[in-house]
Symmetry: C2
Subunit: 314 residues, 2 copies
């Protein structure tokens, strides 16, 4: 089997070649998998949004799980999203736009469905927060600090790092979440409209970091991204489906905490404040596992996906 490389989050090695040549040097995925249980933090079910798309052509279910961002990020829009889910507002809406190397976007294609009462209008100022906020006893990982021997940078911000399991960029004035693969944001019209949260998109291509601080990020897909990223691309402008029949129906979107307990998905993430994460990030930036001949000496913030995994049922 000729292959390229380990999956980003692969916790085990499947290739006989790799098993044969395994050395003492673990891959990033192995480092994460070997982290002690105390380094894995359960994601509150009240922060999980469960989106069920209509079954595929073969009748296979398509469930997408989105983790909403914690405070202090984007809570105005996220409050709206909680209300929309509670009102079952998305049920019967659809994925209407899939643009290659960019986004999949969903909501009410007719744009006529009344929104529930009580949604707030959020100002642009909420696209970022004051810098150096500590969340849930976590601090930024030093893993991305440029080496004194070989300064490296980020093309979009003075600094990047991780806070409470989320990739962020920051400078001396503010801190903001970044548009990595799988991140979920709020569609909007022209500025200063910031969108309500009824129209959402997920990034399915190279990180469109130019959108940072120009549009609200509210979460990330942590399971089932392939049900969005492998949808047919729309042939209309911006990847909108030109034929209504191409739209992909949304059966329901619910907060996981509103599902029966037995049906609630459970996930945990590797604390970005842990030594294991620091080692994982370092290994992503300096691949020393057997496939590699030349470690890069750096990695961009979106090429260090935070390890997230289902919590095994007890």
């Amino acid at each position: 089997m000729k292959y390229l490389l380990l999956a980003a989050a692969a916790a085990s090695l499947a290739s006989p070649v790799q098993a044969q040549e395994a050395t003492e040097v673990p891959s990033p995925g192995e480092i994460a998998a070997a982290a002690p249980a105390k380094d894995w933090i359960a994601i509150p079910v009240s922060d999980l949004l469960v989106m069920d798309l209509a079954p595929d052509a073969k009748g296979k279910p398509r469930r997408v799980v989105i983790q909403l961002m914690p405070a202090p990020f984007s809570q105005g829009w996220i409050g709206n999203i909680r209300k929309l889910a509670a009102a079952h507002w998305w049920d019967g809406t659809s994925v209407n736009r899939v643009q290659d190397n960019y986004v999949a976007q969903w909501g009410d294609a007719t744009e006529k469905k009344p929104l529930p009462e009580g949604l707030v209008t959020v100002p642009e100022s909420e696209y970022s927060v004051p810098p150096h906020i500590l969340v849930a006893h976590e601090t930024r990982s030093p893993a991305l600090a440029p080496s004194p021997h070989r300064p490296r940078g980020d093309a979009y911000a003075e600094f990047t790092g991780f806070v409470a399991g989320w990739p962020v960029a920051y400078d001396h004035q503010s801190e903001w979440p970044v548009h990595c693969y799988g991140m979920v944001g709020v569609g909007r019209n022209m500025s200063p409209d910031t969108g309500s949260g009824a129209e959402l998109y997920a990034v399915i291509g190279h990180a469109p970091r130019h959108l940072d601080r120009n549009i609200a990020l509210v979460g990330r897909v942590i399971s089932g991204i392939e049900y969005l990223s492998s949808l047919p691309r729309g042939s209309g402008p911006l990847g909108f489906y030109e034929d209504e029949a191409e739209r992909v129906g949304i059966t329901s979107i619910r907060l996981a905490s509103d599902l029966p307990a037995a049906e609630q998905p459970r996930f945990e993430y590797l604390s970005t404040d842990s030594d294991a994460f620091t080692n994982y990030a370092d290994a992503r930036a300096n691949r020393r596992d057997p496939f590699f001949i030349r470690p890069a000496g750096g990695a961009d913030i979106c090429n260090i996906p935070v390890p997230i995994r289902p919590i095994a049922a007890k």
Copy 2:
């Protein structure tokens, strides 16, 4: 219509909102579209590889066009690829692996098909070339140079830029092509095996720049990437299809110059040595078109896709 943003390569504005609020500031796509004809360089048909996948479930054809890299990059593997295409070696092979946010990979799933005679073994040293090579009278674009007021960088290399229409990274020792979305590379086993070129992959996710200089890049998909990026993801390790029936058949792969003249696809790219490209790259890094409220002040090399378009039939 609530939308996010212009497509990277969108040459025209389709949204009524945008038309209404249009200003004097053109989008990157508009800048490229407005470039004079002299700035558009025809791609030799002998550098185009035409891959026809089996038609989709609805009988729709799926054609992928790959541009091979010019000298001095990767010519050993590219010579092999030309021989494999001339021998019709890929006909009847398949796409065997699709890993989300990573690659789609194709070749002989049995790994038993004899290779044509005359293929060469290429050394790892060919992963890069001496720095500052000038190709086809082009030079690097200054568009990515960090501003003296706000130094920005690349996480993987000292410098990045464009040579003859291709994104590259370089330092004082060498220069190498980079793993952006759509780039095509040569699958291999463990180092120092560099692969023959019979097993190829295309990047369908966030740029896996850690692969730079660890594996050979030979080209990029310039048309039809959606036929690879929207394929179902494989459920096996590394995204390999577990069931043979899931593999996507390859009807044929040919050099465009071996097709009948009337069937040869024709494409052109915006010279990366032109003022228009410099303006385009600057606009990608500093979005001033009406949707944006805060230009980023920078862009990573893979977020400045070189404009490529079909040449209109005469």
